[in-house]
Amino acid sequence: MKRLFFLTFIFLFNSLSLQAKVIDYSAYAISPEWIKLLHYQKDGDDYVGLVDNDDFYVSEDGRYNPKAELEAEISFFSDAENDLKCSFPARFEWLKAQNLVTGNLDNCSEYQNVMKDIQPNGVTLLFTDSYMRNPASLFGHTLIRIDTARKGTQMLAHGVNFGADSGADDGVVFAFKGLFGGYMGVYSVSPYWDVINAYNNIENRDIWEYHLNLTDEEQKKFVNHLYELRNAQIQYFFLNKNCSYMILEILEAVKPELELTEGFDWWAIPLDTLKRVKDVPCLIDDINYRPARYTKLQAQIDEMSDAQFSAFKQGIKEHQYEMEGLTEEEKVLPLETMYQYYQYEYTAGEMELKEYRKNSFAVLRRRSKLASLPEQKLKGEEPSNAHDSRQIAFSGGENRHLSYMEIALRPAYTALTDNNFGLIKGAGLKVLESKWRYYMQRHRLVLQQFTILDIVALTPTDSVFSPWSYSSGLELKRTYNSRTLDEGTVADAHFGMGKTLGLADWLWLYGILSVGGEYGGFLPRNQFVALEPEIGIFSNFERWRWQVSAQKNIATQDFGNRLLYKAEAVFDISKNLAVVGKYENERPEHGYNRQEFSFGFRYNF
């Protein structure tokens, strides 16, 4: 209501002042519509435009002065001879709606050509899920699809992606520059079929499509604004000025009444930004799931009967596709699965091009002689229903008969034993987790553990694929000297690979061989390196998850030689709340053993 008054006020004000031929544009210049459309950000009492290239703001002072920019644009856009308005259709339309300029965009040939190609008909937010087997990609990625009115399907729509223009950089250089703003972020456009191929088929990532419920006016503004941003350069920061943050900026420019970017000052995890959009009532009106090739392949393998599966195995091994013993209808699934399998193998670099083509066509020629079957629509776990990213955990326990209370904080993201709905099963990614422990008898507060990064990915091998499982971590932690029973802090790093065997869907057996090392003044001779073979069981059954493991460390120093048994059980009370029980038994080669148990709860927010 306040807003209405405000608008009425500026309207009246405007009509009055028009008569006087002296217009004060201040109210327009600080309206949220203008501020957000030009991506001004408050800096104390001043404004700074987020976009770095000068021509995004037409006035000389435009990047720092919304009012000067507004006045300059009104004067340029009012000049029928000046085609500057063609570069800024969303601004032009908004100023026109405020009766500040007149005219139209009919003679803007480039703009009209783009619209003719794109034929916009809606906007969809895309979330691409994690890579299979790569928990480092758990954060996901977001991009925009401009839906099309073209006849056919949305394969003919266009994807719009914001990313760092990194040139040929990769690896460490890319990471470093990406983290510290060394790149310019730019928008790129590609046919949606390219997006599908890139994510679904090459990287094997599921795509989730969230159709945005926008009015015709808002849709037009959205597309026009993307057009304005086509040459924009924005300093790219991997953590907070990334693909997902920029999508929120655009959504706010289109719907200035939304406050979507708030709270993403330090980091913007793609899945968190998706949740933010989904939390706006009625903003998303349709959700569509587009499973990755690998997801489809797994589903097809699961769907096959035993007879079909052995025909499939024989087919990919001996390349013969007659499959005696199966009815014609039963042959369809194994044949289609074989084709998917060949494509997967080729893309993964496991099959030569010539062989791939020969096998593919042989399979498909056989397939084409059989009738069509109704398509199975796969259901995925919608990622925005995953638990929230931040976690706080409270627990109480006893370590070497000393009782303690502990509080643990983690900004992101998930542990192996956390609720994994909507995330990868068997994957954990912990970033900057700190555990503070207070020992009651001794009245002592210690930093028990500080994890910089901890990644684990258990991926079960099955009868078709045999992927590796991984475990790696880097942390500071408290450790004890088994001879003297002193405690101190050490740095610990490890990396390991192994295999996981799925005894059942809910019961996995794994073995991982890690190389690790510890370093710190507390240790005798400061450091040691160790081989750390570990075997364990991980179970994920309805609301329960538990893990038991045994690890033997063979170190370059006696001090590091030990056996470590661990057990952990977690029960979900709700999506974000779980109770946890833990037990640890450490048996060093020399000195005293250590036992610890604790009980507590975890809450995600």
Partner: protein
């Protein structure tokens, strides 16, 4: 040791950064159908043919080796669009043609303005004709699809 720790941190961060935010700075052209690339030599001739044989199609734009517009947009008339689409989606199209239905067939039917169910059946029946050898050219396939759809 500090150096090692530093290297581990960097490697870890690098792993995070590249996998979550790997960026394609080429503008997104030509990611699809890697297996079918590298054989587009006859495309200009085919475009000439299609223009001659089927005058109703406007394929006035010169085309590079890839069917993708340098700005990453879908553009041009039916012939050019089909060529670009089939070049990038041949793998899925081959599957759909063999099955007689699917998203790529619906898309092509939309481009040619024909019924997708009929097109699907016709493509399935003519699968061996369209893919008559293991090294088909995208341009050949495009022509045959047009022929089968009677456009």
């Amino acid at each position: 040791m500090k150096k090692i720790l530093g290297a581990v941190v960097l490697t870890a961060v690098m792993n995070l950064a590249t996998s979550a935010h790997a960026v394609d700075s080429t503008g997104g052209c030509g990611l699809g159908s890697m297996a079918w690339r590298g054989q587009s030599g006859i495309i200009p001739q085919v475009l000439a043919m299609t223009t001659n044989e089927m005058a109703s199609h406007t394929i006035g734009v010169t085309i590079g080796t890839s069917g993708c517009d340098p700005n990453g947009r879908i553009t041009g008339g039916t012939g050019r669009m089909m060529l670009a689409f089939l070049e990038d989606n041949m793998e899925q199209f081959a599957m759909d043609a063999a099955a007689g239905k699917g998203e790529t067939i619906e898309t092509l039917a939309g481009m040619m303005n024909v019924d997708s169910e009929t097109l699907g059946k016709d493509l399935q029946n003519n699968f061996a004709y369209i893919f008559d050898n293991d090294n088909v050219e995208v341009a050949d396939v495009t022509l045959k699809v047009m022929e089968i759809a009677h456009v």
